[in-house]
């Protein structure tokens, strides 16, 4: 289990290799990489709540380990000013089988979206605006309280 909040970029290949290194039981590694979409924006600013962020991410990660048989997990979230195309977040899970790795990675992202204190501000040619929370994200969070099925 590892959580990192950082301004700098991360190396997905190196992070995934390190995640499964040395554990012979791991047969499946799933990763999610979030990128800054570039349609009409000049930059994305990520603000967060230092202290609470790390606590919230560690709590979400612990919840994933309680729900699925996972050998390893990783959450890296960048903060600061990011250009279009930049990596924002990496979530990775390692398990013996793929179903647990897929479900846990989706769960981590769903909970991170609604429960980790990050806020996005889009910088556009016309100025800046804070990104609204999506109703779809609230629904994605809620599905884990009623069911563990799904891919």
């Amino acid at each position: 289990m590892a959580v990192r909040v950082q301004e700098g970029d991360f190396d997905v290949g190196a992070e995934l290799a390190a995640l499964s290194d040395g554990c012979a039981e791991i047969g499946a590694v799933v990763s999610f990489t979030g990128l800054v979409r570039g349609a009409g924006i000049e930059a994305l600013t990520l603000e967060h709540y230092p202290g609470m962020t790390e606590t919230a991410l560690a709590s979400i990660e612990a919840e994933a380990h309680a729900r699925w048989p996972l050998q390893a997990t990783l959450v890296i979230h960048r903060v600061g000013i990011l250009p279009p195309g930049a990596r924002i977040v990496l979530v990775a899970t390692a398990s013996a089988h793929r179903a647990a790795a897929f479900e846990a990675a989706a769960f981590l992202m769903d909970y991170l979206k609604t429960r980790a204190p990050f806020w996005k501000k889009e910088g556009t040619p016309g100025g800046g605006h804070w990104v609204d929370a999506r109703e779809a994200d609230a629904q994605a969070d809620a599905r884990w309280s009623v069911s563990r099925t799904g891919g």
Partner: protein, 81 residues
Amino acid sequence: MQVLYFAWLRERIGLGREEVETDAPTVAALVEELRAREDRYALAFSDLAAVRVAVDQTVTDFDAPLAGAREVAFFPPMTGG
């Protein structure tokens, strides 16, 4: 008590953190005190449906008691990931 503001609440109020002397028993009572201070606070807290609160870094609701609390944070719904 430390009071923190994030995202557009920070921008509207004009600061990210301040020490507040208060005997407010609940988050809601603290919000009323802040609203009464200046227009920028009243503006920031004009629509509480758009505001979330954490007491000592745990998300809670506006009815939450403040007895013993060291840090209260106000922010919009989270949009990370």
